[in-house]
Amino acid sequence: MAVPISFDDLINPGLHPEYEPAPIFSDDTSFIDVVKPEDIKSSTLTVDETRQPVVMVDNLHVKYQVFSSGKAVGTAGARRLLQPKMRGVRTVHALQGISFVAYENESIGIIGSNGSGKSTLLRAITGLTPPASGAVYARSRPSLLGVGAALIPDLSGDKNITLGGLALGYNRQEVETMREEITKFAELEEFIDLPMRTYSSGMAARLKFAIAASKQHDILIVDEALAVGDAKFRKRSEAKIREIRENAGTVFLVSHSMNSIKETCNRCIWIEKGVQKMDGDPDTVIKAYQQHKK
């Protein structure tokens, strides 16, 4: 005879564990990789003594602290004030131990899918993002090709050339000698006296590029979307980038265009999810990267 189901068992709370909703945000941070000081390998960089190293990246780790949204307020907010560790902060480990040595006259392409840490690497090389551990050593401060942030839209293009040039580290005299060339390159001869806010976005981008490209660099970092403006200007700006690249000592180029990497780089580094996957000859690395993406 079948045992009748006792409904008491089902509705008697004492018989069941108390219901606990799944935590929306938990303080459990065990899923984050924590790098302990003892885990960090000390100095395994091998330097080719026959060549002159320009940039050395030593076991570089970069972490971002991000406030995760949807955190509790109210009493939890007050608690957060007292215990700062309880804040809804998540750590993103953007670069996990990148190491390489760049030599003189090398032009290095950096590839990887979106969000793999390419831009973070560039920012760390220029010293704009401080590393969590590891370090970047360089002969001179690497510079990013860009100047837009120093300009003031309310001022005329002419004044902005002065301001941008001085921000790049030129003195006034050098700016005066470059002024005409910059204006001409940006094709803004007629509009150079107008405030920059009246420029079209293409015109403003051209001016910014022309100012930024006026500087010669020892170690240069070029981010992909630098060729700006209409087709004609893009061609000229690409030529200009090539010219700067040829004059610079060492170049880092970030691009999604495998063709431009193949064309211009003699070395390629592939980063995937913050981990350095491959470093070597562009053709081999690009082939492996494309294989991986399929």
Binding site: S42, S43, L45, V47, Q52, P53, V54, V55, M56, D58, N59, Y64, Q65, V66, R123, I125, T126, G127, L128, T129, P130, A135, V136, Y137, A138, R139, R141, P142, S143, L144, G146, V147, G148, A149, A150, I152, D154, L155, K159, T162, L163, L166, A167, L168, G169, N171, R172
Partner: protein, 282 residues
């Protein structure tokens, strides 16, 4: 051999490392043209969109002075002292320089995040440019201040030129305060929220609108504290130099100078210590 030693061997230096104080100051000095140009550009841009343009630079403090002058003139009745309008104009105009330096300095790093993150230069240039900008705005204000003083019946005299060294000392003091506030804001953004309160508190406790000797003569110990008050003493020197028969204690010069040097010395070191921190993307 560690990587650091190996890098040293090839003449490579750690990127983003804080330079020594001396080379930091030297680098900033090399950027002096940028500082001046940035300050000038910002002054121009400030009022460009307004119909009255640059006139606002003097119009705003004038309106402030009239408002405070009338309100506090009525409130203080007979105890307000001689030449009260000139007294208030000098106080309000010069205090404006301090306020704008402190508030602007506090925002000089956090408000220029894009600039800090895209170009590398000693960050000291930003607060210095801010104070330079405020000093440039002060120039027409000082001229207008003298014009008001003459209109209100003050006779011009040679001691008016003493305002130049005084303003130099005052700028040094303001620079120190701006540097300290700039770094505090980087650590605690909330600082800008209480800054208006601090400004207002200082405004009402620095003798901008009242003569301490007259108002607080019941509390001699409090008057003694004001002998060492940097802002009050700056205003007292300025008033003695400009007004017809105001007096001051020459000891005030020492008070003001010592405060200025202390503020700048502490501010410089405090700001420089955190150089690697500015522009952190997080």
């Amino acid at each position: 051999m560690t990587v650091a030693e190996e890098a040293e061997k090839f003449g490579l230096h750690r990127v983003g490392a804080r330079p020594s104080l001396a080379s930091y100051l030297k680098q900033t000095w090399e950027r002096r043209e940028f500082i001046y140009e940035l300050a000038k550009a910002r002054v121009q841009k400030q009022n460009q969109q307004n119909r009255l343009g640059m006139i606002w630079v003097v119009l705003k403090p004038t309106m402030n002075a009239i408002m405070y002058g009338v309100i506090f003139g009525v409130l203080q009745g007979d105890s307000k002292g001689p030449d009260f309008p000139v007294f208030v104009v000098i106080g309000v105009f010069l205090f404006e320089f301090f306020t704008s330096s402190m508030n602007g300095g506090a925002k000089s790093i956090t408000g220029n995040q894009a600039l800090v993150q895209s170009l590398s230069f000693p960050r000291l240039t930003l607060p210095v440019a801010q104070v330079t900008q405020n000093l440039l705005t002060l120039m027409p204000m000082v001229i207008v201040m003298f014009i008001y003083a003459m209109i209100l019946g003050t006779t011009p005299k040679w001691s008016w030129f003493v305002i130049i060294p005084l303003l130099m000392i005052f700028s040094v003091f303001n620079m120190g305060i701006a540097l300290i506030c700039a770094r505090i804001t980087v650590h605690i953004r909330d600082f800008t929220q209480i800054l208006p309160l601090i400004t207002r508190m200082l405004f009402y406790t620095s003798g901008v609108l009242f003569s301490v000797d007259r108002i607080l003569n019941h509390w001699p110990w409090l008057v003694q504290i004001f002998d060492f008050h940097p802002l009050y003493q700056t205003l007292q020197i300025a008033r003695a130099m400009i007004m017809n028969d105001a007096t001051y204690d020459p000891f005030a010069w020492i008070v003001v100078s010592v405060w200025a040097l202390l503020a700048l010395g502490f501010g410089l070191i405090y700001f420089w210590k955190a150089e690697e921190l500015y522009g952190r993307a997080n």
